[in-house]
Symmetry: C2
Subunit: 323 residues, 2 copies
Amino acid sequence: MPTNLVAALDIGGTKIAGALVDGDGRLLLRAQRPTPAQEGAATVMAAVESVLAELAGSPLWPGASAVGIGSAGPVDASAGTVSPVNVPAWRDFPLVERVRRAVGGLPVTLVGDGVAMAAAEHWQGAARGHRNALCLVVSTGVGGGLVLDGRVRPGPTGNAGHIGHISVDLDGERCPCGGRGCVERIASGPSITRRALAGGWRPAPGGDISAAAVAASARGGDPVALASFERAARALAAAIAATAALVEIETAVVGGGVAGAGEVLFAPLRRALRDYATLSFVRGLTVVPAVTGTDAGLVGAAAAASLGTSGPGGTAGADGGLS
Amino acid sequence: MPTNLVAALDIGGTKIAGALVDGDGRLLLRAQRPTPAQEGAATVMAAVESVLAELAGSPLWPGASAVGIGSAGPVDASAGTVSPVNVPAWRDFPLVERVRRAVGGLPVTLVGDGVAMAAAEHWQGAARGHRNALCLVVSTGVGGGLVLDGRVRPGPTGNAGHIGHISVDLDGERCPCGGRGCVERIASGPSITRRALAGGWRPAPGGDISAAAVAASARGGDPVALASFERAARALAAAIAATAALVEIETAVVGGGVAGAGEVLFAPLRRALRDYATLSFVRGLTVVPAVTGTDAGLVGAAAAASLGTSGPGGTAGADGGLS
């Protein structure tokens, strides 16, 4: 029986996924429930417990020595609580303590989903071998996580790398977060669609207005669709260059649904980076697509487990290393 | 005789300062030369050697066990070289090797001047006791350095915290660095003056057009002068909030000549921060004035010496701690 397994939880607004993950990042067993996002706090927790119970029913379970959680944010790893925007009933919900109780006291580590993705890419993906990297998820929102000096750095509350809500346009549009000109407000999938529609882009019959549909038009040469991706790319480039100037990263790994647009996004992103990443020590910065796919959340949560324990009685383990 | 002394060098476009610094950050002996900034590389180095020779002539010198250098940037701590913008003859100048030779092989650590200021504020000033902080110098330029997880983090090349050249206005004015909408282009002293003059502000008889003169007008209620500081404050706030979202800092320490404007800068800065620092985990962020004064460069260079050695055969010592 494999030992040194980690139980991983990936908690989002749509699904709650769990897995038993071995030391090589393989998912040996999976369990999943839809997130009852509009239900009460206890019902959401019951879904988490149901996932954990399914994992615990496996003969592999006694090999599990820790639990890692990657959750939609905001999270507070120092308090062990989560307040996912898309799960209204969970506000400062004591997830770490509740999970610890459900698994009989195993150590539990909590990080934000952007940090989990960075941990996955650093362990198994495009950030592997890099000492300093930013990993971004560009999707319905824009999130991220940082690798500094060879280790994922979640920050005191597990939210570091939160690139979606830095302002690259200080006089820009208000963002639902309260800020102005946030990267997410310019570069997220819905923002790309919104800008394309405002410019006169119309979806094909069938009415698909996803960013992927805008990308398809861009590949066909539609100037409005191209311009919308160009604008998103500039916002991402300014934010990536800012990160490089602040913490000296050598690469930015871009994943999430919008990254699926491929060169429609990456070509203008690389061009724009030459405009914003001008200082001698950031000029060598590369931008590459993420490698880990839909399992990134689980793989990253497993990796995060080795960063240390979270919540009351623990620390976010910023000084810990990945296995 | 005190032992565990550090020889500190603060290298700028105007002066080359040196000191012997004890373990409590006291400057026991100083030496200084004007920077022959427009001369050849050898002449500039001769001024550095002359400062070192003066220190070495002291009976205290045998107590010195290391050299710390804070230099105007860009620097490359991994290569041990400096290319200060205001010293044209020094491009990739091998300062670490040359200083090491001049001091008989003592270990030498090089960091950028923003990192040195952060090291000084963390050791002796307003960042003391903080585990995560950004320290800014707002002056002719805008620089900075980071404290992460209780330690100054210079980054691989000694330039981390370079907040002056992150873009907070992606469609903004071109910056001499090649970027657009850089913080320095909006918030530096000369930028504050330039914007005030463009708005119709005129200096008092005597013709002082420093940012301090604009600040004096602002204190007198001049709306153009007030607006120019307000704009600088917004750019700084957006950049500080971005840093907080990226690496979770708890405080920003602002020093440099422009910070001498006091509440003319700090009041709008705190207001603007409420506009940009909106996420739950950054809302507690404070902004405070720097405490260390003109000696910050020397104190910080001394602190940096304990971060490790730089240059060929050494490392920038990102994992090292401050004494």
